[in-house]
Symmetry: D2
Subunit: 174 residues, 4 copies
């Protein structure tokens, strides 16, 4: 291994829609197939849990950034559990650590905070099947940092594009 | 003094509109007149700076939760500067510490992250002159926690109402 | 008010010695008499609670940086409760926010972490009635940043000296 | 992979002694040989850098918890770089995430803060070739949580023992 590419996936923990859960599993599997490390909020709920299970089904490496010290809340599909005991402040770590962030499905306030923190930090965000209101709002405040997708394969294509954009931006800085 | 009521005000640091800056000053002054402590992100920019100056003009107490150790970025109108060195993770502290949060004017990604973190934590948020997209999005994810206002006096009225709601909710818990 | 001087006091939360509790109360009172703001970890236990009560007895302003969202654990003598929900990571905020830190009495691992984080951040620490082992260890790693005292009045004298040293160092930087 | 065992290694970043650097490399290699994940503060300095290089030389997985967003400061031997932008508050994450912490050699204030935060959180700490003052102080405040060692192989033996102790304690809880 050398330095790994890390893709962060965020989405509803509670009340996730069945379609979002199915997509999360397929997305995790596709991320692992690309050889990328999967990063999530690490809990055994909703999108987080499903995307980790998908990644493990394809043999990927999964990192979870946990909000509390309660180890019973960790997804069984997380390989390395980073324990922060910092509640939702851990969302900031999630986005800084990820090379690109994918918001999978329609999330709630936690997901919104992660998208906003990502944009604040200059990170690319892919909205995969987001709500109309979410798309309109984040496109307005994030502009060129925000992309949309409506399938797992398109999401992977957009992530690949954003990784190469970022790479070329870094090369220009040097 | 006994335990103080803390009102958090968030808004654009950079690129704040002139009207939002004027409203922030008047809002800070009105918050101090109510005897509430003002809490902000503490920097010497935009809405943060103006609301602190307004509060000091009326003799209020101002607390700033700073993202970095760089003391040159602190608003001169902050009495007590809490230094976190935690970047935007300090936004989580801002919302947890505030009894009610007011988003003053049209903010960017930083403001959005604070509103989202507030809603995630079950805090009331008043959107004072927000954008149409912001109102639609946060009303959708925050429901009864989100209120809107379009003047300083209405904002103060709504905050007063929310403080009493919260108080009666706490009394029911006991 | 202008920017306030903030003195952080750390010490045992649990199992504090009776003498350390008494000294904490007197120290808080003396800090308030100097017109300094008192900062602590904010809980209703041990040295934290006593120093806040002393400060309020002399009409001082008290800020508590709390580790959890549980409001029942806040000292009644804290005026402004900063809620971090970050467990012991809040110790870093305590030391960065304080102009000088006083460790009152013989503390445990929490107190030791605050002294170490203070020294790491280049802050002055006064060990007021510390243990022999603590004095030897922190003097070794902190050198000129560590001073010792054995009474409230000497502690205040040392803090005054350190504030003036810091002030002159800042003036040289400009 | 299933849930991985994580061993945290802390030590001097600057001014590390040559012997401590050599031991750190050998320790990293031995940790990887055991199949444990290595966790450090992630920077390209001193003990952190050496222990990561040792672990990679033996094909281990290395996680770094970084204090800042500056990617130029990351050790080349870190596989997954967790970016916190939280300065020394990241030390709390280091110790919570580790199953056992090893302090390698004579460290400064940063290392002391990690040992203290570990003890505060009830984590086992192995002092491998620490100073006399450090041993005396941390043994006093940490009691049964603190063990000492004076070679890489003894350190690994002690870590193995502590992992089994912890395991049996967890089984008793259930």
């Amino acid at each position: 291994m050398a330095r790994q590419i890390v893709i962060g996936v965020v989405g509803a923990g509670e009340n996730a829609r069945a379609a979002d859960i199915r997509n999360a599993f397929a997305l995790g599997s596709a991320i692992a197939d690309e050889g990328w490390v999967l990063l999530t909020g690490g809990r055994n709920r909703g999108v987080m849990d499903a995307v980790n299970k998908g990644a493990k089904a394809s043999g990927g490496l999964t990192i979870g950034i946990l909000p509390t010290k309660d180890r019973r809340t960790i997804s069984v599909a997380v390989d390395v559990a980073i324990i922060t005991d910092m509640g939702s402040a851990r969302n900031y770590i999630n986005v800084l650590t990820s090379d690109v962030i994918v918001a999978c499905g329609v999330g709630g306030a936690g997901t919104a905070s992660e998208i906003a923190l990502a944009l604040k930090s200059g990170k690319y965000v892919v909205l995969f099947n987001s709500s109309k209101e979410s798309g309109a709002f984040f496109k307005k405040i994030g502009r060129r940092l925000v992309m949309a997708s409506d399938s797992v394969s398109k999401t992977i294509d957009v992530v690949r594009l954003l990784l190469s954009k970022r790479e070329s931006a870094r090369r220009h800085e040097q």
